[in-house]
């Protein structure tokens, strides 16, 4: 990838999109002018209609000459404030006819057994308003009659009517109530505005480009496919993001204006809203929106690229839009909450997260999962986009049917090495399988579900390597290891473990859980027999995770980039894969140790052994805490003194140095970095 070319392409795409009237209208005119105008305008209109309705006089008639007319007349006169509308009693000969003509708005008919009917026309708004006001008047009259009757019986009307006094008291702060309201509406709003911001540019850079005939021009330029896709993707995501943020701020501003103006008009209600309490929520929401915009953009582009022109793309993208909007309704489902499971469902996770943010629920672990999963889904979509953009039949508009997204196995070359794309694809597949199959298995089978998860991690890289006919020995660094090298690996493993321990302790003030995260296992596994624990927690991850990370990922990277890059990237992916912000740093250090071991020895067997020992220690600590505490008290300390830390740092340095020497120098390094 050439950064200069990418920048030039990105600028071109951005200029092109920004000079398109449709996008400009969607991005600027709608949020800056239309929304505030609509929201403020409609509210002002509604309130003026309401007040004009209140000022109108509604005409009422009584069909039969009864005493009722005078009584109700008095009530209306005395309680005009309570009823809220002006009612006037008029005389009419034929009440029903007058009602139908519109000369009166409602009338009262007294039927058999003094049954009173309030007659009106539900099809006419005026009549409906009049009858509800009349109803209020009758309600007041009824209360008055009850009071009179009770007093006639010689009782205290107050006590009889209200034998118990109760009121509601709301302990939620005003901010919480407002947050709850905003939280349920916000996700839908966000999804809609991001879609609106993304769709037109996405169509423009894909189908629009084909329609204008500039795609072939683009293909004549000296750029790689990846640069072309990424520049388009980034430009559209940028636009989607900016327009979404503009939209949200303009709507939020209009809403805030309305709320504060209505509050200031009701001056006797002394409510003060601390808008600043929403700032963290808003900031997190903007971060989530950025990540979500990536996903929306990638999906929209994937859909639109199949279309030959703007119109066709519009048709293709409509179902996608509906699916996204449907997903955002999740926030309105009462009992659905953001959990480790729902955090992996696309769209729904964003909806639930945003809802939670405005209700002041900040769960950083889940926040990380939502972001990670959004990135994973976007990467998957970009990968597919890359495949589609490679397909000449799509580019040169020869139809949809002959798209070969993936090469058939029979057409694969023997002994090939995977590329970056394969790594991304494999990681996404594993991630999705763990989320859906693994989580399901864990819910259904409990502890054995954990084994299923480990099996997924173990099988995916193997199956992928088999399918693409990879050079397995090379890819997975399968090599026999000498005893001395193994000893050295274990030393490096110890250094990494102790290093992680120190870091965990140092991070305690920031993440109180971080130190325990290194050795503590889930509650679910504690009660299992020890041999099962060793199998599922120590042996299976040692094989599976090593095959995936130190095998497939590192094996690919070391072929295609410098050793430092391969080691750092593998470690970062390994740390990120554990889906926990808290454990990320400590696991990262252990991961670095494992990666270095594989790099130095050139054999995955070494890191498998070290990984096994590391996890075995967790099992032992969980099963035999007292014995371990006696032998290794340092693992159980909540806080380490400075002298302890210095001692441990010395241990790290010595172990690392000894291990490094035992494994040996360059001549023993069997990995071929060519």
């Amino acid at each position: 990838m050439n950064l200069k070319r990418m920048t030039a392409l990105f600028k071109r795409e951005l200029t092109d999109i920004l000079r398109d009237k449709k996008t400009l209208i969607m991005m600027l005119v709608v949020p800056i002018i239309i929304y505030p105008l609509l929201i403020v305008g409609i509210t002002l209109l509604m309130s003026s209609i309401m007040s004009s309705q209140a000022e109108k006089t509604y005409l009422i008639a009584f069909e039969n000459d009864t005493d009722l007319e005078k009584q109700i007349g008095d009530i209306i006169e005395d309680n005009e404030e309570k009823i809220g509308y002006k009612l006037e009693i008029v005389k009419e000969k034929n009440c029903q006819e007058s009602l139908e003509n519109g000369t009166i708005d409602a009338f009262v008919r007294v039927g058999e057994n003094d049954k009173v009917l309030l007659c009106y026309l539900s099809a006419k708004d005026r009549s409906s308003t009049a009858v509800s006001a009349l109803n209020d008047a009758f309600e007041l009259y009824r209360e008055e009659l009850i009071k009179e009757k009770i007093e006639d019986a010689g009782l205290d009307a107050e006590v009889m009517l209200n034998p118990i006094h109760y009121e509601q008291e709301d302990y939620s702060t005003t901010e919480e109530s407002i947050g709850n309201l905003i939280g349920s509406m916000m996700p839908f709003l966000i999804v809609t505005v991001i879609l609106l911001g993304a769709i037109y540019p996405a169509i423009d850079v894909t189908a629009g480009e084909k329609e204008r005939g500039t795609l072939e021009t683009l293909l004549t330029l000296p750029i790689t496919n990846f640069e072309m896709i990424m520049s388009k993707f980034l430009a559209v995501s940028c636009i989607a993001c900016v327009s979404a943020i503009l939209n949200v701020f303009s709507m939020g501003g209009a809403m805030a204006f309305l709320v504060s103006s209505s509050l200031s008009s009701a001056a006797n209600m002394n409510i003060e809203i601390h808008y600043e309490t929403f700032i963290p929520g808003i900031i997190f929401t903007i971060v989530v929106m950025m990540f979500f915009a990536l996903l929306v953009t990638a999906v929209c582009m994937c859909t639109c690229v199949f279309a030959k022109n703007f119109k066709e793309a519009n048709n293709y993208v409509t179902p996608v839009m509906l699916i996204f909007m449907f997903g955002s309704y999740a926030a309105m489902i009462p009992d659905l909450e953001l959990t480790a499971q729902t955090a992996a469902i696309p769209i729904v996770n964003v909806a639930l997260l945003v809802e939670g943010l405005f209700q002041f629920h900040y769960n950083y672990g889940l926040f990380a999962i939502v972001l990670f999963s959004n990135v994973a889904y976007s990467l998957l979509a970009i990968m597919i986009l890359g495949k589609i953009y490679n397909s000449e039949s799509v580019l040169f508009s020869e139809g949809l049917s002959s798209v070969k997204l993936f090469t058939r196995r029979s057409e694969m070359k023997e002994k090939q090495m995977p590329g970056f794309g394969d790594v991304v694809l494999l990681l996404c597949i594993v991630l999705l399988l763990i989320f859906y199959v693994g989580t399901f298995a864990q819910l259904k089978f409990g502890f054995f579900g954990v084994a299923v998860q480990q099996l997924i991690i173990l099988l995916c890289p193997l199956v992928y390597a088999w399918y693409m006919k990879a050079d397995k020995k090379h890819l997975f660094s399968i090599q026999i290891i000498k005893p001395l090298q193994l000893a050295g690996s274990v030393m490096i493993g110890i250094a990494a473990f102790v290093g992680a321990l120190i870091l965990g302790t140092l991070l305690m003030p920031v993440f109180p859980e971080s130190a325990k995260g290194l050795t503590q296992l889930d509650d679910m596994v504690v009660n299992q027999p020890v041999y099962l624990l060793i199998l599922v927690v120590a042996i299976m991850p040692a094989i599976g995770e090593e095959l995936l990370f130190r095998g497939f990922v590192m094996g690919t990277l070391k072929k295609r980039c410098r050793p430092v890059v391969a080691i750092v990237v593998t470690t970062l992916i390994f740390a990120a894969y554990h889906m926990s912000l808290i454990k990320m740093f400590t696991i990262g250090i252990v991961g670095l140790g494992l990666t270095l071991v594989t790099y130095k020895t050139g054999s995955i067997a070494a890191s498998m052994c070290v990984h096994f020992l590391n996890n075995l220690l967790s099992v032992l600590i969980t099963k035999y805490p007292t014995q371990i505490q006696r032998e290794l008290p340092v693992l159980f300390k909540d806080r380490l003194s400075v002298s302890d830390i210095l001692l441990l740092v010395a241990v790290v340095l010595i172990c690392a140095a000894v291990g490094w020497m035992l494994i040996g120098g360059k001549k023993n390094n069997k990995i071929n970095f060519d």
């Binding site: 200069k4 030039a8 398109d20 005939g213 500039t214 021009t217 330029l221 750029i223 790689t224 000449e392």
Partner: protein
Amino acid sequence: MIIVDDLCKEFERTVMSKEDEAQTKRLAKSHKKGKLKQKKESFYAVNHVSFQVPQGEILGILGPNGAGKTTLLRMLGALMQPTCGSVAIEDENGNRITDPVQYKKSIGYLSGNTKLYHRMSTREMLYMLAQIYEIDQQTADERIENIAKVLDMHSFMDNRIEKLSTGQTQRASIARCLIHEPDIYIFDEPTLGLDILSADAIVNFMKSQKEAGKTVLYSTHYLEEAQFLCDRVIMIYQGKIVKEGSPEAIMEECGVGNLRDAFHHVMEEVETL
């Protein structure tokens, strides 16, 4: 020099299967309705084509519609991946360039399908291209100034391309191919649908480039133009080269006085085979 070695491109097309043909006849006789199965069949749009074009030569590619001219030129421009075979450029030092990015830097490709970005001005487009071709700012300034002078584009350099006339757009298109000063030009029916003045401008442009030692490969249906312009022509039919040589040699071989008659002669010959 551009070297084309055993180039093939395989496509799929939908055809009726043999059983279906029989089925269709039976159905036609019995006046019944039935479902017909179609199947995909692959065919070679370009079928094992090899040739070389040295620097300073204009090569014309002739052939009827659907012969595979555009597909061949797309592969020569590295817009399409060949199914088999290879295309390479050999520079003065004898090094072969096959890496698509490097390869495209030596090629100026122009066809009816390479439209320009309507929402940019010619000047903006040329600057953008200069960045993509990694030409430094000063050189880019000089080249753009020079191109504007040569193609007489000063009057509309800063107008958006959507506002330009057909002739002006065509000149802007040529400017697009010139900015990186390629060694090889690939033009797919460049004069198609142009008025006489614009077409002549393009013909003159190709001639001037040949004189400057550049290679030009171009496809056309205008045989008089090809006869006048080309050092060598290849005629292709159903993806295969059926005739290759200088226009004069081909005319002599066919015993006719112009390239048009020679073309008819060759096509009749291959169709009877």
